[in-house]
């Protein structure tokens, strides 16, 4: 006699305990022997928690079934996960198997800290995890519970119970689940509604759709995105400059040119105070924020911005002949990264709006600023390096183009990224172009770039360059 086993993988604060309670009540109402336990973690949110249940018909001879408290690899009938990575974790551990397991999971991601703090993209491959869930289970019932939560303000645990009912895997009649929700007595009406939403959404089986923003895959597509962006950023002439620069790179292999076109668009629309102010003022932005807050037409919404430009950012707006001596002085006095002008501006008040509008208007003067000159010089140097690298090998050109990824952010972050970029450019790229080519240069640049994104202190980069 083998009991039916259920493993629920959830995170603190998602109502996993109540979900387990519902299953216990439903199983008992069905006349089954049932036992549940949990590794609930501590009171805090976001830590992984698991719940494990076993249920089986009562034997006719009056004996008591032995029910276990631990799940075992290959012996889980129903695996429920409230998030994709936790489902993948269970598949990896062999808890779900193609021989036995019905795998029910939401496909949305709640990123782990390790994925979030990466300076680049530290997210685990979602497509791989979806595939693992499908291939690692006898039957997979995948759906985006987060979307349903947003659309129907349903609770995650109620949705999951609905999906469990829809799977029909447990020896429990569908109406028992609703009875269990009533008996448990927590937010009964809302949970019944959520249960039904989950039931309907998954009745048809695997309902996961992978909507991913695809990167443009041809140079033309990139250019088509870049031109209006640069007109918005500066003007038609500036967009024309972009086009000329791309045309000058026409000899580059298609793949390299696509990367160059993409990065060039970003580099030419570098973030300065005018750009930030422009973005903050867009009417669509206010509409989006109001929508996210659920504000009806007359409801007051106030938006406060946190700006804290430093000497560097302020000098960016000045012409070079003014900016250069100020910056030199600031550097010698150690003011860079220390002296800032902190502002909290309310965009939704007329005063704050006008202040931002004035800042946004300064973009007309951008061509005469110190920052503009610096950026254009860097861009030309980079384009030159990419073309030079292409003469050596396409792979090398690709890596040199990709170095642009390191330059991003504001203030300290920007200075650090630019410093890393400069370091790799000088030590590896420009040295190679000057004829001191080293073997395995492309992979070395790739490693150095990854290292630059590995830790904010730059320790990994030092090691990578020393190697």
């Amino acid at each position: 006699m083998t009991p039916t086993t259920i493993l629920i993988a959830a995170m603190g604060g998602e109502g996993g305990q109540v979900l387990a309670d519902w299953l216990v009540l439903a199983a008992e109402a069905e006349g089954l022997a049932v036992q549940a336990t949990s590794i609930a973690g501590v009171a805090q949110r976001t830590g992984a928690t698991t719940y494990y249940l076993e249920m089986t018909p009562w034997p006719k001879d009056g004996r008591t079934p032995v029910l276990a408290l631990n799940p075992a690899a290959g012996e889980v009938d129903v695996l429920v996960a409230t998030e994709l990575l936790e489902a993948a974790r269970a598949v990896q551990a062999g808890l779900a198997t193609a021989q036995r397991t019905t795998l029910i999971t939401s496909t949305h991601r709640v990123l782990a800290m390790g994925e979030k703090i990466a300076m680049g993209d530290g997210r685990v491959d979602g497509a791989m995890m979806l595939r693992a869930c499908r291939e690692g289970a006898k039957r997979a019932l995948l759906f985006d519970a987060e979307a349903l939560m947003a659309a129907d303000s349903a609770a995650l645990n109620a949705l999951m119970l609905g999906a469990i009912a829809a799977s029909g895997t447990l020896p429990i009649a569908a109406e028992r689940y609703e009875e269990a929700i009533r008996e448990r007595g927590v937010a009964v009406e809302a949970n019944l509604a959520g249960f039904r939403v989950g039931l309907e959404a998954t009745r048809g089986g695997d309902a996961a759709a992978v909507a991913d923003i695809r990167l443009p895959d041809s140079v033309e597509q990139v250019v088509a995105l870049a031109l209006p962006r640069l007109v918005d950023y500066q003007d038609q002439d500036y967009a024309a400059l972009y086009r000329r620069r791309i045309e000058a790179c026409g000899d580059l292999p298609e793949a390299v040119l696509r990367e160059v076109a993409r990065h060039l668009a970003l580099r030419m629309s570098y973030e300065d105070i005018a750009r930030v102010a422009q973005a903050k003022l867009r009417p669509e932005r206010l509409a989006r924020i109001r929508h996210e807050l659920g504000a009806e037409d007359a409801t007051p919404v106030r938006i406060h911005e946190f700006l804290k430009p430093g000497i560097g950012e302020l000098c960016d707006m000045l012409p070079g002949f003014l900016a250069r001596p100020i910056l030199a002085l600031a550097r010698s006095r150690g003011w860079i990264g220390r002296a800032h002008c902190g502002m909290e501006i309310e965009t939704t008040a007329i005063g704050g709006y006008l202040a931002l509008a004035a800042l946004a208007k300064t973009r007309r003067l951008r061509r005469w600023t110190h920052r503009y000159a610096v950026e254009q010089e860097l861009i030309e140097e980079w384009l030159h390096a990419v073309r030079g690298a292409a003469a050596l090998s396409p792979a090398l050109a690709m890596e040199v183009a990709g170095l642009a990824r390191l330059i991003k952010g504001y203030g300290d972050t920007h200075r650090r990224g630019l410093g890393n970029y400069r370091l790799i450019m000088d030590r590896l790229v420009l040295a190679a172009l000057a004829g001191r080519a080293e073997p395995e240069l492309a992979p070395r640049i790739a490693r150095a770039r990854e290292a630059a994104l590995a830790d904010p202190e730059g320790r990994a980069l030092e090691r990578a360059l020393a190697a």
Partner: protein
Amino acid sequence: MERSFKREVQQLRLGANQVFRGEGIVAVAKALLQSGVSYVGGYQGSPVSHVMDVLVDAEDIMAELGVHLETNANEAAAAAMLGASINYPMRGAVGWKSVVGSNVAADALSNLASPGVIGGAMIISGEDYGEGASVIQERTYAFALKSGLCLIDPRASLPTIVRLVEEGFALSEASNCPVVLQMRIRSCHMQGKFVCKDNVAPAIGTRRKLAEPAGFDFDRLSHPPATYRQEKRKLEQRMPAARRFVVERGLNEILDGELGDIGIVVTGGLADTVLRRLARIGLADGLGGSRVPMLILNVTYPLVPEQIAAFCAGKRAVLTVEEGSPEYIEQQINVILRKADLQTRVHGKDVLPGAGEYTAEALDDGLAGFLRAARPVGYDLNAVESAAARRAAIKAKGRALVPVELPPRPPAHCTGCPERPVFSAIKLLEREIGKVHVAADIGCHSFAIFAPFNLGHSILGYGMGLASAAAVAPMQQRRPIAIMGDGGFWHNGLQTGVIGTQYNRGDSVLVIMQNGFTSATGQQYLPSSTTSRFDAPGGMDIRRTLEALGIGWLRTVRTYSIAKMVATLREAMATAYQGLKVIIADGECMLARQRRLRIEVAERLKQGLRVARARFGVDEEICTGDHSCIRLSGCPSLTVKTHPDPLRTDPVAHVVQSCVGCGVCGEVAHAAVLCPSFYRAEIVRNPGRFEAWRARFNRRAIGWLAA
């Protein structure tokens, strides 16, 4: 408190023949009332917090029965409270998290065990061991051995647990030994049912008080020369009495099995898992029957040599199944068999792991190893081998499907937690002055050891943060920062840390996280909470206490004000003031606060009163995907998502709906000079007249300007 125990409290009222349905640890609370306890107490800690929580919520039932309830200041106080049963025939029980709680209680425990008790005394010990455990991995067994406590490790079923609570008190009275009931994590959270008995009002209780104290009896005092007699009595009278009771009452279970040449001796809490693992290889029927004879030790100390010898007689080999090291039971069995001149081979840690929880897989491997070595007559080992091969294939397939290392998901500070910004501030300070030695402590704040903060050099126990810096401070050019929660402060940090440092003129910096609850264990009240179980403030105040001790450098800073916190820390690190510098980091536990606010806000909205709700957001167009903000904040609601800009490949920072608008994002962005992409959006329901007019005016004016 985190959970409401209204449902559970109803269950405590159940009478004879009614069926209790619920959690293992709540069943223990019911069993205490059925056993006629006069008093209960303890100190919260996972996994046994709920035994106290539910009794606190059931105070009216306790009052009706005449049971005294004490939420003890720490485990030492709880153990000392059991001293009531030394002189008076009263049953009492206290709960705490083992092994850390037992350590704190050890002094009182020894002094309790030496004279012994005449009323049943029971310790409900949360065995925080294995998966999900949050403390150092040691076992309670050593305490039982050294002090002469009876140790109960009940089989994981509610009827057995309840029976052993009741029998445990009788065992304590029969042997005069205090009894420890070990409750494993999974048993505490186990859902099941049992048939109840009526609650029993104690013969001595708050409703039936004693007219006179007990007479003077030197033998009830743990002081020489009585202690010499007590030690002898433990060995010669009390332990033998306990062994007799165990046998007479049949507390240990023996399962007969047809494979008579082998056997398994297993601690009660693991018995059902072993039976299920045996069923997998055709050696058990899943209904309690086993083909391998089993001795199930619901009482793991003292062992009964005659019982062990009788079980082993005629067997070629037995397997001892006990978690953790040293292998106390295996060693004792070896000695017992040697003395009985039995040649049975004893297996245990040779085939089972010495460390860690006995999961299904650990037991599968151990049983396989045992069966391969013992080769019982009448059993085909092929079943073991094919099961092992099947599992290996399953594990290989799983690793092939997900061939990357998945990031762990440890517990973290909640969204809006008031403690997190303190660690942001420490990180920012470190950028200025360099790395600092951080003496960490037990509590939610210990999560700062995880990413993104990775702050903390040592953890020495609950409330020990400051004390653990005593010999670090004099050796460092930069002052160390010690962390302590308000829970740890009242638990013992006040004495071991603050008083010790002040007395020795230590030069440390202490940050006390004042969030108003012992939050990590489920938001129990503290002496300095704004309310208590008596619906009135505890009346004790950390700042006033420190002032009374003469702490000369004392600041209170609201935790969310990161810039101010950085400035205060900077001052504490640099000041010429020699002596203890204390910063009280003040901010109410956000979980508790949100629970309170949800009700208040709903009420205000219903009455048509003004309610403002703030949320933070990130402008996607401005964020460049560097994630510095996440590395400094670590808030669960601050995450990343695919950049909507098709030209960007790195994900963009993103604030999800769960944001409670605590303000830390803005403070971090400001204090760290990160980037201008954060904004705070505030929505006002039921605005005042002027406010509504102002909003209308601004919208119109801006609409006109934008056009």
